[in-house]
Amino acid sequence: MSDGHSTPPTFADVNRDVLRTLEPPGNLYFAWMCVVALLLAGFFFAWAGQVWWGMGMAGKRVPQMWAMYITTFVFWIGIGHAGTLISAILYLFRARWRTSIYRAAEAMTIFAVMTAGLFPLIHAGRMWFAYFLLPYPNQRYLWPNFRSPLVWDVFAITTYLSVSTVFFIVGLVPDIAALRDASTGWRRRIYAMLALGWEGADNQWRHYRRAYGLLAALATPLVLSVHSVVSWDFAMALVPGWHSTLFAPFFVDGAIFSGFAMVLVLGLPMRHFFKLHAYIQEKHLDAMGKLILVTGLVLTYFYLCEIFTSLYSGEHIEKASLFWKVTQNYAWALWTMYFCNCVAPLVLFSRRARTSPVALYIVSILVLIGMWFERFNIIVPSLGHDFYPYTWGIYYPSPTDTMIVIGSFAFFFLLFLGFIKVMPSLSIVEVKETIPAPMREKAHGH
């Protein structure tokens, strides 16, 4: 499909356009890969140093036993929300505009969750014993503590990653079959293996459609549960600023908010470089913009609730924590967050901004920054000014934490950049479903 087509693309156009994204990449792509690989090397270097010399290499301290690692962990989990939300919930709601973005969003989800999954390991003081968290019969007769939110995390995240991956692969199967039939040589053999022998026969389709619907139905509560469980890491703790029943919906909304921003951050360049304007149209951008706007407004409401409950509680320690956050050492982070998450998305009230890729891109980047800081503000300042004045303190990031946090982006982008060159980043089948099926009669009618 090329620009200037006035007529909608045909099935063959779709195949051709999608397959074109898999052509050998250019120098720009290669340059990006180099940057990513370099950062990733730094990431592993920093991680190795941390394991060798100890967790002290990262800037953590008493009282901030958690800091940027958990911030980034929650950030990536949040990012990982949009994909399955788009593919499952919007699928069930039959939102047709999802089709052009859902594949990329799903890939993003899986890679974001994979990236997030690294952080509990990076964060653990003795990650070589991280397997203690898994419930399996062992010679010590010991089991994990199922009352610990961290074990819930293990279950929630593994489930989320597994189900998302399954969902993703199931969605990919017919597309891989198309790739198989369009490629030759060793690629064909690999794709043939991955396609499981898919032929698009009616018997396959009928089970496939049913399975896909059921998976979507299972994934829908899962999406909502994962970030709720992650939020309970905080809500189950006593720390002032954490101990709140508000956290589950607050986190879920924030996750969707940041997830959509990330979808745009990835999708807009793809649209540009792969010239997919015919599939990712203005109406898609508009819908995404609206979703960001709505979730942003909901988030603002949650911020107000948070402040209100803290003030209304009459609880001295809660209030002290809030006032400290707003006015003292970390106030800059808090106000950055308010600006990025509450003010910046207001631009999207304008339809022009919603359909302008540049405006959307800027807002999305701001939203991502804001949402990273939201998690930072939940973790670091809350811990820094909690119950016990003796240990109040300020956390300073060290080169190790900084490198690892930056490196996690490299890890994510490595996976994503790799993916877009080996798998169709647009769903061939679902895009075809949205364009009119070929009809002889109607064709005559033209």
Binding site: T10, N15, P135, Y141, L142, W143, N145, F146, R147, S148, V151, W152, F155, A156, T158, T159, S162, V163, V166, V170, A177, A178, R180, D181, A182, L196, G197, W198, E199, G200, A201, D202, N203, Q204, W205, R206, H207, Y208, R210, A211, L214, L215, L218, A219, P221, L222, S225, V229, I428, V429, E430, K432, E433, A437, P438, M439, R440, E441, K442, A443
Partner: protein, 178 residues
């Protein structure tokens, strides 16, 4: 009994549907239809007398297994080596089970339900859809994953000519025997 497979390749949905209606009307029920995407009109014709896909049974069983195994493992491990944490516990004493720390286990149960349910669904799809297939079926054509629709009719050799004719009349671009 030897059967012959006659494949009609269609470029349009309406022609495919017409061919299917014709075939069904004439009593040809052993059909395989290849489509690049699931098409409502075609499904309507095919699903008319078929039961709902049994994939959902797999999902149900998987989900229930997940819930059961989650409660089993959490409660059992609490009882074999129940530690008291934060004043909460669940212990097996001669008088029965004491303590009350069940609520967290619902989270585990939910996650396990989704996990097992999800896997069971895929297994159901794979099993029922006769996947994975190592070799392409005889009547498959690579164009079916692009923009062509295929109707493969399995019939007795003596009726082959009639099927040929039928498909061509319905609007097939190409009709061949396999």
């Amino acid at each position: 009994m030897a059967t012959e497979t006659i494949l009609g390749v269609f470029a349009h949905v309406d022609t495919t549907v017409r061919a299917l209606e014709e075939l069904r009307a004439r009593g040809y029920h052993d059909l395989t239809v290849y489509t690049p995407i699931p098409v409502h009109e075609i499904e309507e014709v095919l699903e008319r007398d078929r039961p709902v896909s049994r994939v959902r049974l797999f999902t149900l069983l998987g989900g229930l297994t997940g819930i059961a195994s989650a409660f089993l493992i959490t409660i059992w491990t609490s009882m074999v080596w129940g530690q008291v944490t934060g004043g909460k516990f669940l212990q097996l004493v001669p008088g029965g089970i004491i303590g009350s720390s069940l609520p967290p286990f619902f989270i585990i149960a939910f996650e396990m339900m989704v996990l097992f349910g999800g896997f069971a669904t895929v297994i159901g799809m794979v099993v029922l859809g006769r996947l994975p297939r190592l070799k392409a079926s005889a009547s498959f054509d690579p164009r079916f994953t692009n923009d062509r629709f295929g109707v493969a009719v399995h019939c007795a050799p003596e009726r082959a000519a009639a099927v040929h004719e039928l498909l061509r009349t319905a609007g097939a671009e190409e009709v061949k025997s396999r």
